[in-house]
Symmetry: C2
Subunit: 404 residues, 2 copies
């Protein structure tokens, strides 16, 4: 007998028909003799609808109250899913984040899970119940409800899998696995049977939209067996994410794009040590993740620092820079949201010379201009004009022959 | 400095405009130097919408999961109201039933409050925050969410007022107080400045729809200063509900009607002792409240027992009777939902001969047939054909000259 954690996203539980399909997958797993913990997101557009309601009365509500509001979305879908399973005659119970002991820090709207106290969960599993858990949320030391931020349900699922020593954590999405690139853009895109945690991490953070990257980090840390598969075609084997995958000739594993990018440039910064540190520690203090960072020589002994972040952070970044203009000591600030990021990812890349060059060649052949370049051990990202990203993805995918 | 508990129903917080109006009442009270605890119901039709969603996937969901589902309604309105008050620049926090220590029994969907652990509430009040609490809900000993049943937010408000020793508990509704009868039916209906707990109890349980009767019981028990007033015209003095009101000549205080009535008759019951006990203890075991009870002589040494309950209980009552037909030992069962109950209420009634007779005379004059009669120390109820209830209320109201 195994313990399996299954996570279903908002589109998989959007209405009664979809709830019944999902309940079928769950009860099949249960009937096969497994213990099952299910993590659900809010139905369809619930979260967006709640955000809209809030903005109507307060353009800038506190994050504490937003979490109070948004956490209801998962509570609704969890109880509805439990009722669906009840109706099929199986023992089931729904639990909120606080009921199943998901303890987080107090960074409302983007909390991190600190620990999972699994007593209640284990007690319910001992009663042979299917346990439905609200994803995306937990409780902090003040007994206040917190949320993990968008996509946090993946993280919830992995955290519960780690805490309960689950044999497998299945993330059900509307795609049947991880592809070499988005099949809607490049029809020849190939599904990967396996991928490493590190590769998945880069793909997730690069906008592949399959797995929330914090969930992959956590799965890597606690060595959770993770698998991505489709709730529409549950019989199709998905993609297994694990520490080491079998040797393959493929160096580049996938091509990803991300349109949710803003480029910010601080120009004419005095060329003294500690400037970059000052900027990015200020941003880190406000929990703003930056991605590609580029430093270049400016005019007359000054330097320019450019970096990218998600568009949602733009205004806050501008405000922070403005408020600390004296401390940072820059001349001008400029930004551009009309850009896209395209990236290649692959664990084999680090030991293969010429991979980046091959990518740049593909873009050159396609007549696409590169604004910024960022690299890590297993990825190369470029910033290009928005509108060119699909052409770029296709050109790179072809160049590396990933469809074969 | 006083502590005031204010309760706002679902229609008072139904949209952004209404939330702002309610927030105005709350912050005016706060600005006047009071501590304020606010209890809210779910917005408008939220609860009905959620019930519909549940029924779509499971015609008979467990009450435990229904409570999990329905409790989200108040959590949404509480957080939205908090955001509205935040936007006006006042310190505020929203709390769920479990966060503010409302402990109940485990009778899901109709739980009773056992105690309120007010530590968190008091701590927030000490911080000079306006505290918004989700009405209608609590937590049981298993850490599961429970609801108090329809109208339970009134009870929540009174319970919090009692636990925190509030100076006043204001129930805001869409009427500006308690009237001698429904002003929509009888335009001459008069607003009462004061009413006793007992009179209010009878009016509430008789369908006056102003205050949930459990809240009145609790207010009476803990001697909570209770007052009913309008959220639309907050400047109009409402009706104060208290233990003793000043002597008045008016014997009959109000006329109420209730269309949510089903009459059930068990016929040809063997005429031996203990039959009535058996029936009503069975129903009590299933938490079914019955109202008027009538026993009459049947054919050939048998008897008939008739009683009324709310229409929602009808099917369950029929099922229980059917399942225990042998034990109860009745011949036939019949029922009628096409009836209405009309009642007069007044603490002075018990010591005034002829009040009931005067009521029956009013109905006779109006040519309305009486099916059943029930009386208590301070009320007289009659069961009549549905459709005649407004005519009956008007006739009785006129007869007792309550509009003067």
């Amino acid at each position: 007998m195994s313990l399996i954690v299954q996570k279903f996203g908002g589109s998989s539980v959007a209405d009664a028909t979809k709830l019944r399909r999902v309940a079928g997958i769950i009860t099949d797993t249960y009937k096969a003799g497994n213990n099952v913990i299910v993590v659900v997101s809010a139905q369809g557009d619930t979260t967006d609808d709640l955000i809209e309601k809030a903005k109507e009365i307060n353009p800038n509500p506190s994050k504490r109250e937003m979490d109070m509001l948004l956490s209801t979305g998962e509570q609704i879908s969890a109880s509805l899913l439990a009722m669906t399973i009840e109706n099929m005659g199986f023992p089931v119970i729904s639990l909120t984040g606080w009921q199943c002991g998901v303890h987080t820090d107090s960074n409302y709207s983007a909390s991190r899970i600190k620990k999972v106290k699994a007593e209640r969960l284990n007690a319910e599993l001992d009663k042979k119940r299917i346990v439905i858990v609200t994803g995306f949320q937990g409780i902090n030391k003040y007994d206040d409800i917190t949320t993990l931020g968008r996509g946090g349900s993946d993280t919830s699922a992995v955290a519960l899998a780690a805490a309960c020593h689950a044999d497998l954590c299945e993330i059900y999405t509307d795609v049947d696995g991880v592809y070499t690139t988005d099949p809607r853009i490049v029809p020849e895109a190939k599904k990967l049977d396996e991928i490493t945690f590190d590769e998945m991490l880069e793909l997730a953070s690069l906008g592949a939209n399959v797995l929330h990257n914090r969930s992959v980090e956590m799965a890597k840390k606690y060595n959770v067996n993770l698998c991505v598969r489709s709730s529409i075609t549950p019989n199709v084997e998905g993609t297994v994410v694990k520490e080491v995958v079998k040797m393959e000739t493929m160096v580049v594993r996938g091509v990803a794009k991300d349109n949710d990018v803003a480029r910010i440039s601080l120009c004419n910064i005095e060329d003294t040590p500690g400037k970059a540190f000052r900027i990015f520690s200020l941003l880190a203090k406000h929990n703003i993740n930056v991605d590609i960072i580029l430093q270049s020589i400016g005019r007359e002994g000054t330097k320019d620092i450019s970096f990218t972040t998600s568009e949602g952070n733009l205004q806050q970044v501008l405000d922070i820079c403005e408020a600390n203009k004296e401390i940072i000591g820059y001349g001008d600030i400029s930004y551009n949201t009309n850009v896209s990021k395209v990236s290649i990812v692959g664990a084999g890349m680090v030991s293969n010379a010429g991979v980046a060059a091959k990518m740049f060649e593909a873009l050159y052949d396609a007549n696409i201009n590169i604004h910024m370049i960022g690299t890590s051990e297993i990825k190369v990202s470029v910033l290009i004009d928005q509108g060119m990203e699909n052409k770029a993805v296709k050109a790179i995918h072809d160049k590396f022959e990933l469809g074969n």
